[in-house]
C-alpha cells in the first residue's frame, strides 16, 4: 500500500506523533520499572552500602561529560513518563481527546520533558 512503512513492528499504518509518544510512554515505563527492579535486586545481593558504591564509581573518575549524560539519561525517562502520564490522566477524565488537542498536548509534553530534563541535569 503506498505510504506505508514496514518497521520492526509490522503494522500496516504510518507512524504518527501520538503513536510514537504512546509507545515511548510504554518504553520509558518498562525501562524505569526494570531499572528499579535491578536496583532492588542489587540492594539485596551486593554486600556494600550505597555510599560505598557511589564513592567507588566516583573514584573511577568518569569525567563530567559522562556524569552529565548519565543524569540526563535518568531524568529524561522520568520526566517524559510523568508528563505524558498526566496527559493520560487528563484523557481518562474525558478531556483533550479531539485530534488537534491530542497533538497540542503531545507537543507540550515533549517541550516540558526537554526543559525539565535539562533543568534536572543542571542541578
Amino acid at each position: 500500500m503506498p505510504g506505508t512503512r514496514v518497521t520492526m513492528v509490522t503494522v500496516s499504518c504510518r507512524w504518527s506523533v501520538p503513536m510514537a509518544m504512546s509507545i515511548t510512554h510504554r518504553g520509558t515505563g518498562v525501562a524505569l520499572s526494570g531499572g528499579i527492579s535491578v536496583f532492588a535486586v542489587a540492594a539485596l545481593v551486593l554486600p556494600g552500602s550505597f555510599p560505598h558504591y557511589l564513592d567507588l564509581i566516583h573514584s573511577l573518575s568518569f569525567g563530567p561529560a559522562l556524569i552529565t549524560l548519565s543524569k540526563f539519561a535518568l531524568s529524561f525517562p522520568v520526566a517524559y513518563h510523568t508528563f505524558n502520564g498526566i496527559r493520560h490522566l487528563v484523557w481518562d477524565a474525558g478531556k483533550g481527546l479531539k485530534i488537534p488537542e491530542v497533538y497540542g498536548s503531545g507537543y507540550t509534553v515533549i517541550a516540558l520533558t526537554l526543559l525539565t530534563s535539562l533543568a534536572l541535569t543542571a542541578l
Binding site: 520499572s33 532492588a40 539485596l44 552500602s49 550505597f50 498526566i86
Partner: protein, 159 residues
Amino acid sequence: MAALVRIGSVCRGPAVPSLLFRSAPLIRPLAARKKDQDYPYFCTAKIHATPSNYAAAGSKAASLHWTGERIVSIALLGLGPVAYFYPGPVMDYSLAAVLTLHGHWGLGQVVTDYVHGDAKIKLANTGLFLLSAVTFAGLCYFNYHDVGICKAVALLWSK
C-alpha cells in the same frame, strides 16, 4: 472496508484512551478509516477473543482495577514533591510501595497486551508477581539497612 480491530492496541493508537477495558476485548466488525491530520490510514489486525479472566458479568473487578491504577498514579505524582521537601523513612517506604505497585500494574498491562494463551498468561503474571515481590523486598531492605530512597537520590545527584 470492514476491518476487524482488536480494541485497545493495534497501532499504539492515536489517543486510544485507557477507558477501554483491556481485560475483556470485544469482537466487532468495524469500518476503520481514520483521518489523521493530513493523511488517512487503515489499521487492520487479526481478531482476538480472550476469555474473561475475571468473574462473570456483573463483576466490577476490572473496573475497580482500572480505578485503582488511576488512584495509585495520582498518589505517585503527589509523592514526588513531598519526598523532595520532607525526605525520611515515611517517604522512603511510601515511595517503595507506590512505585512497586504502579510498576507492577503497568507491566501487567504490557503482559495483557502482548502475551496470549491461558498458560502463557498465567506464567507471565506469576513471573511478574515474583519480580514485583522481590523489587518491593529489595527496596524495603534498602530503606532499612541502607540510606533509603530519598537520601540515595540526593546523594546520586550531589555529584
